[in-house]
């Protein structure tokens, strides 16, 4: 879309970047349509495979750069699972590692200008959060049987308070997938929309008035600063998603307070 002479409108809408389009043709998006989301998901999976397969290919004593990144990622997540969820949670480490790598690569690929952030869609993160929620709940019942309900019955609290606390605990248990998924999607979406808003400011004001001489450099500066923040947020949100998965896993394995 070309910028019109004295247009006071934004050149593009900041939310346009989140539109799901079919990759080939413009037909309606069905259940099995190959869309841009599919493409970027496949790309992030290919990047993960490239990093982990090429990184562990040589297995040198003095690691190459790729090998040390792969080793760092592995050690980081393994230590997190061990510290937060305990030693007996290590059988579930591959799943948590998969989640972390997928989220962090989707977030970082989404930072490439013109790309698509798959994790900015609640549909994507909700599937991951629901998978964690269901897995953890089933695991809790399989491991502890009826004893899993003691997660809601806080035995250290005074007896009259316990039913009220149990109600609160049950509610907070069932909003877990909601907050878990929207935290990631909301953070990714908001950051990218803000970048796009400033990106739209930069040319708009330059065309219409002379104020652009001040506003354009300022908005480019703002884009740079927010982009740096987004790099940080991309990593931290992936970290938070995985660490909360570990916390939920710990609750399922040791429900007794």
């Amino acid at each position: 879309m070309a910028a019109e002479g004295d247009s006071k409108e934004l050149v593009f809408h900041p939310m346009d970047q989140f539109i799901v389009k079919p990759l080939f043709g413009d037909g309606p998006v069905g259940l099995f349509t190959v869309t841009n989301v599919t493409m970027w998901m496949v790309l992030s999976i290919l990047c993960i495979i490239a990093l982990l397969v090429l990184g562990t290919n040589g297995k040198k004593t003095v690691p190459t750069r790729m090998q040390s990144i792969a080793e760092l990622a592995y050690g980081f997540i393994r230590k997190m699972v061990e510290d937060v969820a305990g030693k007996d949670a290590l059988p579930y480490f591959p799943y948590i590692m998969t989640l972390f790598m997928f989220i962090v690569f989707s977030n970082f690929l989404g930072l490439i200008p013109g790309s698509f952030t798959t994790t900015s869609h609640i549909a994507v993160t909700a599937v991951m959060a629901m998978a964690v929620f269901l897995a953890v709940t089933i695991l809790g019942f399989v491991k502890n049987g009826v004893g899993f309900f003691s997660l809601f019955w806080i035995s250290s609290a005074p007896l009259p308070l316990r039913p009220i606390l149990a109600l609160i605990e049950v509610i907070s248990y069932f909003v877990r997938p909601v907050s878990h998924s929207i935290r990631l999607a909301g953070n990714m979406m908001a950051g990218h929309a803000v970048i796009k808003v400033f990106a739209a400011f930069a040319p708009m004001v330059l065309i219409s008035t002379g104020i652009g001489l001040v506003v354009t450099p300022l908005s480019i500066l703002a884009i740079t600063a927010i982009y740096a923040l987004e790099v940080l947020v991309s990593f931290i949100q992936a970290y938070v998603f995985t660490i909360l998965t570990c916390v939920y896993l710990k609750d399922a394995l040791h429900p007794h307070h």
Partner: protein, 78 residues
């Protein structure tokens, strides 16, 4: 006309719901600030508690997310 009023109310409500995010911002700042003041008193114990800090951030941020959710529902679902 009636639909316009309903939509206006939904938009105003969505804007008002976003004030809840300010509360989440205060909460997250409180968590990190207190973590930092504790960490500077005893730096050797700080490293092991970083995960706890992030869990605390996540929990206090969840309430801000609910206000965002209410805003989204008002914008797109009502």
């Amino acid at each position: 006309m009636e639909g316009d009023v309903v939509q206006m109310g939904a938009y105003i409500g969505a804007g008002l719901a976003c004030t809840g995010m300010g509360g989440a911002a205060v909460g997250v700042g409180h968590v990190v600030g207190n973590f930092l003041s504790g960490a500077l008193r005893n730096p050797s114990a700080a490293g092991g508690q970083t995960a706890t800090m992030f869990i605390g951030i996540a929990f206090s941020e969840a309430l801000g997310i609910f206000s965002f959710l209410v805003a989204l529902l008002l914008m797109f679902a009502v």
